[in-house]
């Protein structure tokens, strides 16, 4: 098929798709008039039932916590899949980072960039940690906090320290943290079963003040485990991609 034929084929298919889409949308309740009873019901009871003021987190880590286990393992499987796909092939070997075009002059990264990146490492790590541990109060949670925690490591790479990045995030440590995060989530669910409660039932004391960091029982704990799992998974994914620059076909 020539590119031109393909474009025509796409135009016809897309027109049909858009027509069906618009037909379906015409049957939706108008924008802003969502009548779904489930969300409104959760809004009514969530804060009272869980002492978490962040209702989205209460849904993610409590009401549909079982789904979130699966969601976390999707990320886990993706990080594992990446290290399988990008494994060192037989004809490849790892080389020391070296300048391959010696004749080309590479401007060193400016001190301003390096200092700015290094200065941001600390605040970024604190922000990520804060988000991962405040799922129960504000718009945050383990997934968001974990990604920001991982970007603290990536800032170290941006500051021009590839070797420091790898030294601070050795594969063995990342694997252990990732496994602890994913396993911790599952273990909380199993602990509930051991107490004769449904899987992932919120069995911890809920605290007295809605929105306090210590409130909301297992929601805060699960968010913490998700946070370290996501941070480790993303650091591993970025590390895998960066490692590729060191592989050469022998």
């Amino acid at each position: 098929m020539t590119p031109r034929q393909r474009l025509w084929f796409f135009a016809v298919a897309a027109a049909g798709l858009v027509a069906c889409y618009l037909w379906a949308f015409a049957g939706l309740p108008g924008f802003g008039g969502y009548p779904g009873p489930y969300g409104q019901e959760i809004l009514r009871v969530a804060v009272r039932q869980t002492n978490a003021t962040g209702v989205v987190s209460a849904i993610n880590f409590d009401y549909r916590g079982f789904d979130t286990v699966g969601e976390e393992f999707i990320l886990f499987a993706a990080a594992a899949g990446m290290s399988v796909v990008l494994r060192k092939l037989r004809e490849e070997r790892e080389t020391e980072p070296a300048d391959e075009a010696g004749s080309r002059t590479v401007p060193p990264s400016s001190s301003a960039v390096r200092v700015a990146a290094l200065l941001m490492v600390g605040p970024t790590a604190v922000l990520g940690w804060w988000l991962a541990s405040h799922a129960q109060t504000s718009p945050s949670g383990g997934f968001q906090g974990g990604v920001i925690l991982a970007s603290a490591f990536i800032l170290i790479y941006l500051a021009g320290e590839f070797l420091s990045f790898r030294r601070l995030s050795p594969d063995a440590l990342l694997d252990a943290v990732e496994a602890a995060g994913a396993g911790g989530f599952v273990a909380i669910g199993l602990a509930a079963i051991a107490m004769n409660l449904p899987y992932l039932d919120n069995f911890l004391p809920l605290g007295t003040i809605p929105g306090a960091v210590s409130s909301s029982g297992t929601i805060a704990l699960i968010s913490f485990f998700v946070g370290i799992e996501v941070a480790a998974a993303f650091t591993a994914i970025v590390g895998e991609l960066l490692d590729q620059t060191l592989l050469r076909s022998a």
């Binding site: 889409y21 939706l28 802003g32 959760i42 809004l43 804060v47 849904i59 990080a79 990446m82 929105g211």
Partner: protein, 114 residues
Amino acid sequence: MGIFPFLVVAWVMVVGLYGIITSRDLIHQIVCLIVVQSSTYVLLLGVGYVTGGAAPYFFDIPLHTKAVDPVVQALALTDVVVEAAVTALLLSFAIQAQKRFGTLDPTELAEFKG
């Protein structure tokens, strides 16, 4: 407003699909797939919007304030996580394609298959 947010959904999705069809580079194609998936965020958040509703966080607003649907927001979060996982895997496939066949052009790559 009415149907306008849903028109945006259709537009973003079709633009992304157009990019996938016409792309000559796997990395660009992956970015286009992200664009297609972005349309689902707009759809989810658009469906759950309640006119005049606040964000579903009752930290500093009184309980029982009218708020938007929190369930679709939780689904949007799942959506983002899945997208990150899919993108990471696709990028690693692109790296392997470049290694094995020395090209990232999908039309050239198609010629390598039987």
